[in-house]
């Protein structure tokens, strides 16, 4: 009887004291203030008029907040070679393509690498970790040569294809999928499902937290793809490039640069919140896994 009432009281979690949770909340809140302070200051600086930049002592708020920096950024960006909307469209397209392609390829590869039985799976797993660890300047040069050889310079392909396969994404998904009991995969096989169907119909619906996390990483990296040295055609360039150009040209540079940084941060933050909500919702009503 006591056992049952205890279970009900804590909804299945052992001995939760209310005071403990409050302590955790206060601790996290204090840390969050420190973590958020620079971001808060970035926002404050983006709305500070230029005459407030050198006030002494430095203020933690804007006395006379203004959107001038943002206006200046859009004005400068509007004077670039092609309309601002073109850069936005390019970035949206590149981000969507990279995010979807990355999740699709990484999920399948990760499932196979975690649960598939075939020669070479161990070897591939270690190749993926090694490629994460090896970083060198020369890689960028060779990547450029590969892209040039494939005739992809000055195409969308140069912005999208190199970011499709990331070892980090596969590694993340593989680690998560490896937690699924083998019995579940075997059961699916007995029911006649092949690897492909097992992956998409049985495993992936259980992998929402990892998949959402992968999407956040993919979105974030894709959103920041700079046209850099692969694209010279102005009409193919992405938003980060345009915003960087705009921020570097105006008069009140520091303020405009800050406005650009804050502006570029908005879409990833919105995406993040949507995806995280989804992660947390999953937990609430599914206790799948056996």
């Amino acid at each position: 009887m006591t056992d049952v009432s205890k279970l009900k009281a804590s909804s299945g979690r052992a001995g939760r004291k209310h005071g403990g949770t409050v302590c955790i909340f206060i601790f996290l809140l204090l840390l969050a203030v420190f973590m958020a302070l620079p971001i808060y200051l970035a926002v404050v600086m983006s709305v500070k008029p230029s005459q407030e930049w050198f006030i002494f002592p430095p203020k933690f708020y804007a006395m006379d907040p203004t959107l001038d920096n943002f206006r200046e950024m859009f004005r400068a960006a509007g004077q670039l070679w092609v309309p601002f909307s073109r850069y936005v469209a390019n970035s949206v397209f590149v981000t969507a393509a990279v995010t979807l392609a990355q999740c699709f390829t990484a999920s399948m590869a990760a499932f196979v690498l975690a649960k598939g039985k075939f020669r070479g799976s161990k070897f591939l797993n270690s190749v993926i970790v090694i490629s994460l660890l090896y970083q060198s300047n020369v890689i960028y040069i060779v990547q450029y040569m590969v892209i040039a050889k494939l005739g992809m310079i000055d195409t969308y392909a140069a912005l999208i294809l190199p970011s499709v396969a990331t070892p980090m994404g596969v590694f993340l998904m593989r680690q998560s999928i490896s937690q699924i009991p083998d019995a579940m995969i075997e059961a699916a096989k007995v029911d006649g499902a092949g690897m492909f169907r097992t992956c998409w119909n049985i495993v992936m619906p259980n992998q929402k937290p990892a998949l959402m996390t992968l999407m956040i990483f993919a979105f974030q990296s894709a959103w920041n793809i700079q046209s850099g040295s692969y694209v010279f055609d102005e009409s193919l360039k992405t938003l980060p490039t345009a915003v960087a150009q705009a921020a570097a040209s105006g008069i009140a540079r520091q303020g405009v640069a800050m406005a650009a940084a804050v502006f570029m941060l908005i879409p990833p933050v919105i995406f993040f919140v949507a995806a995280q909500k989804n992660v947390i919702e999953t937990m609430a009503h599914s206790g799948i896994k056996d």
Binding site: G15, G20, P162
Partner: protein
């Protein structure tokens, strides 16, 4: 021995193998083209004198000899990188895990808010703000606040005095380090089977600490390994934060890490062969540390 080998061979089902390779194909195509080939071509460059203009010549181990025998700045950068890695690596790993766990103990809507606040720094690039915070004059927030409180009597040169540089760079590195590893751990916590906790409660687990040690940690091994690899990479290849914050080169090379040294030789002097040798040395160290940690995490259970 022999029959066992045979059995092992037979356990690879032919049609399943083919299906596996087909499912791997889309990833592998891009992975080989844009990662594996570049890495394979980069590896031997450390043994040449490649300078991006002339055809590279094979120079044997001379790059590595120079590195360890006559490059004093490299030896210094190893020290800096190690200090950096020791402080930022384990500290941020523990932070990632602890915060991911504490957030998991909160009610639903607070989870999203705190996860966002801790993760935003790794999305934003706001070095300018940090430069203002640690600015060496009285306009710097840190100087201004500390002088107001009477802790400091005069402004400190946080970003140019070699006594403080490393401390400031490590602090900012820690600030942005709640990234991929942290988020993966958060996802891991969400994915733990609830029935495990219910079973634990029935079997006499009394509080959240016991729950953490006996149920959560064992169930989180894969994510913990992922986070560890991410932290190793971030700690050993640290470079961008330093260059953006205290400039390049930093005063007295105080924030000059191994990766900064590779950047210096690669993109400033175009001595790609030498730069590549530096990266190879760093890779070998990271590979060793990774092996060690993988073994540690695997043994724990």
């Amino acid at each position: 021995m022999k029959p066992e080998k045979n059995r092992k061979k037979r356990s690879y089902n032919r049609s399943e193998s083919i299906e596996c390779w087909l499912m791997l194909a889309p990833f592998l195509a891009f992975f080989v083209l844009f990662t594996v080939i570049p890495v394979l071509i980069s590896l031997p460059v450390g043994f040449t004198d490649f300078d991006m203009i002339n055809m590279p010549h094979f120079t044997g181990l001379s790059n590595f000899k120079n590195l360890f025998l006559s490059d004093r700045i490299f030896i210094r950068s190893i020290r800096t990188t190690l200090i950096f890695a020791i402080f930022s690596g384990p500290v941020s790993y523990v932070l990632c895990f602890m915060l991911a766990w504490l957030i998991n103990e909160l009610p639903k809507h607070l989870k999203t808010v705190f996860t966002l606040i801790f993760y935003i720094p790794s999305m934003a690039s706001v070095y300018t703000v940090w430069q203002l915070i640690f600015s060496g004059d009285q306009y710097g927030y840190v100087n201004s606040v500390l002088m107001d409180l009477g802790i400091l009597t005069s402004a400190r040169q946080w970003l140019t005095d070699s006594r403080y540089i490393l401390f400031v760079v490590i602090l900012v590195q820690l600030w942005i380090s709640l990234g991929a590893g942290f988020l993966a751990l958060r996802a891991g916590f969400q994915n733990i089977d609830k029935s495990l906790y219910e079973a634990g409660a029935v079997e006499g687990i009394k509080n959240r600490w016991q729950e953490l040690v006996y149920i959560t940690v064992p169930a989180m091994k894969p994510q913990m390994l992922f986070a560890a690899v991410m932290q190793i990479v971030a700690a050993f290849t640290a470079d961008i934060v330093g260059r953006n914050l205290v400039g390049f080169p930093s005063t007295d090379y105080a924030a000059h890490t191994v990766m900064t040294h590779a950047y210096d030789y690669g993109w400033v002097r175009y001595e790609m062969g030498y730069s590549s040798a530096i990266c190879t040395v760093l890779f070998l160290v990271m590979y060793g540390v990774n092996k060690l940690i993988t073994r540690l995490l695997a043994q724990e259970d």
